[in-house]
């Protein structure tokens, strides 16, 4: 308690020097939480959008299905397992049949993916109800797909595919609806068609490539040879991407924090140098070296306490406003391949604030302690003469 009171008095007595350090450190503290909040928000927002748009609470995959191997797509389909049929019938899962196809917009060839989906389903976030059309081959596409192929609602487009026998076939499809989504994998290069039409086109009745499980189901369902892929597996790329961005961002925080820590280290070194006689006096009054080390370390560590308090004063309203208004994302960000949308809403969890607070506090304490190790060798007589032993 004595050391604490003395340290508090000393640090407040140092005036402007203390407050400059505190301000720099508080900026680093708030910036770290702010930037980490952006990455957490990015992760949460993208995960939320992907879950609602196409992942559900997980997917059952045909054993041959490999989303990274388009050449195997034509073979990765099969009869929907019997165990999954009841949950599909109950509206808690929806089958999707996927096959490669080709369109010819404006006289050029464009490879696409045809995805058959039941029009009445409500698990995948596309407007599939628009597929309940009288058209021979109704199609729903996303805005990106529409832009890249120069298509709009009511347009006809020739679609070519290969059926189960390997025979090429073609038909004119009509765009019956368009939708906007931040999830590019449900939009770019994808034609959504009624499942029964696709099964008929491919001559694969009752078959699917995968089954998306609804968010109301959490218990595992036996699906025979089909593999259940949970959200952790399905979002691994997103997490890797956000993590790599986060690591890149961490370098910036590290630099920011290092600058603040350097200022504190410098202050500590200067303080030890300027206050040698004071240390000698303290020793003459009966203070031990250990008490002096604790006193000076605590003085340094108090910079962190003040910085955290100051950061809270302006950081809480600032970051709250930031989280409410969000950050406008540039158009080019859409090409990045991550479901962010036009506005990114940062997310500041308690865990993030606690972890950053602990990191800042311990980093400052360690940096404050390092120069004080000199005190361990300090002779009182040297200190009183203003010398360092």
């Amino acid at each position: 308690m004595l050391t604490f009171r003395l340290a508090l008095k000393n640090i407040l007595g140092a005036g402007l020097r203390t407050w400059l350090n505190v301000i720099v450190l508080s900026i680093a503290f708030v910036a770290i939480i702010g930037l980490q909040g952006i990455y957490q928000g990015m992760n949460r927002q993208a995960l939320d959008a992907m879950t609602k748009m196409e992942l559900g609470s997980g997917q059952f995959w045909h054993p041959e299905y490999d989303p990274y191997d388009p050449l195997s797509l034509e073979d990765s389909h099969g009869t929907i397992p019997e165990n999954l049929k009841p949950i599909i019938a109950a509206g808690s899962a929806t089958p999707i049949l996927i096959t490669p196809g080709t369109i010819y917009p404006n006289g050029r060839i464009q490879t696409i993916t045809l995805k058959g989906i039941p029009p009445e389903q409500s698990i995948v976030g596309i407007p599939s109800k628009e597929l309940k059309s009288n058209e021979d081959l109704p199609v729903v596409i996303g805005k990106r797909m529409a832009e890249s192929a120069g298509l709009s609602k009511e347009d006809y487009i020739t679609v070519r595919w290969r059926d189960a026998n390997g025979t090429f076939d073609a038909a004119d499809a009509r765009i019956v609806g368009t939708f906007e989504t931040i999830v590019q994998s449900a939009d770019k290069g994808v034609f959504w068609l009624p499942l029964d039409k696709v099964q008929s086109m491919l001559e694969m009745p009752g078959q699917a490539t995968l089954v998306v499980r609804g968010q109301d189901l959490t218990e595992p369902t036996e699906a025979g040879a089909w593999t259940f892929r949970d959200l952790h597996y399905l979002t691994r790329e997103l997490r890797d991407l956000v993590q790599s961005k986060s690591i890149g961002g961490s370098i910036m925080f590290a630099m920011l924090l290092a600058m603040a820590l350097l200022a504190i280290f410098d202050t500590q070194v200067l303080s030890l140098w300027r206050r040698r006689q004071e240390m000698g006096t303290m020793m003459a009054l009966g203070m031990t070296r250990g008490m002096l080390i604790r006193l000076f370390t605590l003085e340094g560590a108090m910079h962190a306490v003040f910085a955290i308090l100051l950061g809270a004063v302006y950081g809480i309203p600032l970051l709250t406003a930031f989280a409410k208004s969000g950050v406008g994302m540039p158009g080019s960000y859409d090409d990045f391949g991550i479901a962010l949308g036009k506005t990114l809403y940062p997310s500041y969890g308690i865990g993030l604030v606690v972890v950053v607070t602990i990191i800042v506090f311990f980093a400052v304490t360690i940096v404050s302690y390092l120069p004080t190790r000199k005190i361990a060798k300090l002779e009182p007589t040297d200190a009183l003469r203003g010398r360092m032993s």
Partner: protein, 233 residues
């Protein structure tokens, strides 16, 4: 206490490494001090006054020989034991006052009491006000050292040394930065405290103003005691 003397110095030698050899700062020192003495180590600069004062104050240790203060052998004290000895029984007064600039007068005087740890706030307050009353600074308790004159700073330093009523006060050139009037005020005050509280005062000085007040003069030259005289009042 094991010895009847407050301080006993026997065959003291203090040397420092200097180049390839040794610099002898003190040698053949044999002295004893009793309770209530008002003594001074007198001699020119470099004679070893401050070194001897530092050894008596357990801030330094002898190279050879023995220095026993209040029954404790300085050379055998650990760093913590030496700090405890200073904390409980020894007060220091320095030439440059050595007041802590961020603390006010009251807080500077309070510091040795905080280190004692076993005093209540009320006891400390009473002791501080008494010490400030001795030195006539009760009206300046909120002032910072930068707002005080040199004489006032040294009076604060005296109050800080005396507040815990130590057995021994060691004063190193206490008047070197003071004018004649202030020097006399400070010395009269210390002499009065010495008489009233039976505190042993040992000065290191070459200031004639101080020497006039001493009741015992120990003259040092080149690290040796050349005279040890009791001065009749």
């Amino acid at each position: 206490m094991q010895n009847s003397s407050l301080i006993e110095i026997k065959d003291l030698l203090k040397s420092y490494p200097m180049g390839k050899g040794q610099f002898i700062a003190l040698q053949d020192i044999n002295l004893t001090f009793q309770e209530g003495e008002f003594a001074g180590l007198v001699g020119p600069s470099g004679s070893g006054k401050t070194t001897l004062l530092n050894i008596v104050g357990s801030l330094d240790s002898p190279t050879q020989g023995e220095t026993t203060v209040l029954g404790k052998r300085i050379s055998q004290l650990s760093q913590k034991e030496a700090a405890a000895l200073r904390n409980h029984y020894i007060g220091f007064i320095f030439q440059t006052y050595n007041l802590l600039p961020v603390y006010n007068v009251y807080e500077n005087v309070k510091l040795p009491l905080l280190l004692l740890k076993n005093l209540s706030s009320q006891e400390m307050d009473k002791m501080i006000r008494q010490a400030l009353d001795w030195v006539g600074l009760t009206d300046k308790i909120k002032s910072k050292p930068a707002q005080l004159s040199g004489g006032e700073c040294q009076r604060v330093a005296v109050a800080r040394a005396m507040v815990k009523k130590p057995k021994i006060v060691l004063a190193d050139e206490p008047t070197a930065n003071l004018d004649a009037a202030n020097s006399h005020n400070i010395l009269q005050m210390m002499e009065q405290l010495n008489r009233e509280l039976k505190t042993t005062f040992i000065f290191a000085t070459h200031d004639e103003k101080v020497i006039k007040y001493l009741r015992r003069q120990i003259s040092l030259n080149d690290g040796r005691v050349v005279a040890d005289d009791i001065v009749q009042a």
